[in-house]
Symmetry: C2
Subunit: 135 residues, 2 copies
DNA sequence: ATAATTGCAAATTTTTTGCAGGTTC
DNA sequence: GAACCTGCAAAAAATTTGCAATTAT
């Protein structure tokens, strides 16, 4: 159980109840879309405004607390920012799973970028298919 | 210059003027967002409706003529469906460049998916950074 | 001739904004 | 107490829908 108040302060954000609850919900589900965060946090804090969710997601992405995960055919999901990893996305049940990116692949992509005269900042690898339980 | 009327028919879609123009514009720009397609095609066909763009993009993605390219912090762009490749995305000027995915990386990702009991359908690798002219 | 497609207008859905009151540090 | 954050209501932006007229095969 991470100390989200602490995490927020480290990123120059005030630790409000809404923010810590948003983070708890994102951690609980791993990857989650805006509307769904709203539904979940509302269960705990009924007067929550959707505008607050939007403002906070934008702010927390800017400050590096969250990462956006854009997905083909869906609205973006958000996750707590963490070490580099890839996503396995089930095209049937929409589940998103994290996997570590192996060193070779990582070096390969770095190489591709360099050869193209590109200074690499961030990698995003999504693998789409059927998860174990859906196939 | 591809024969888009032909391409559409091969995918069970009628070859309307609007559709072929949308495809020409997408090919011209490589990767382009909905609003921008609308602006560009409108120059040629002023009575074009934005609803027509939406309906057609959805239909052409479903039929496999187009591919959606979801991007962090932007609206999705669309490209003509083609052999597998990756995207180099400039975080400064938003340019998107295609690169072939090398065989090793491709095998690596296949392996990661298998190990996780995942049956892989589609890969999507985006590399974000500064392009040659922006850095 | 038939079935599909277009453009329009209206409806929905999603996201952003401004501001008064409340909260955090 | 100063700066920041929230919730609300309204505005703006993005996407979808229904339908009559038109077009492709």
């Amino acid at each position: 159980m991470t100390d989200y108040a602490q995490l927020l302060k480290e990123h120059e954000l005030k630790a409000t109840f809404q923010r810590t609850q948003i983070l708890e919900v994102i951690e609980k589900y791993g990857h989650i879309a805006i509307e769904r965060i709203y539904e979940e946090v509302s269960k705990i804090h009924a007067s929550l405004s959707l505008a607050t969710i939007y403002k906070n997601i934008i702010m927390m992405v800017e400050k590096g607390v969250l990462t956006e995960v854009p997905i083909i055919g869906q609205k973006s999901k958000y996750e707590i920012a963490k070490e580099e990893h890839i996503h396995l996305i089930c095209t049937s049940c929409s589940a998103v799973m994290d996997k570590v990116l192996d060193k070779d692949t990582s070096e390969d992509t770095q190489h591709v970028a360099e050869v193209s005269g590109f200074s690499l900042e961030h990698r995003q690898l999504n693998l789409y298919g059927l998860c174990e339980s859906c196939k």
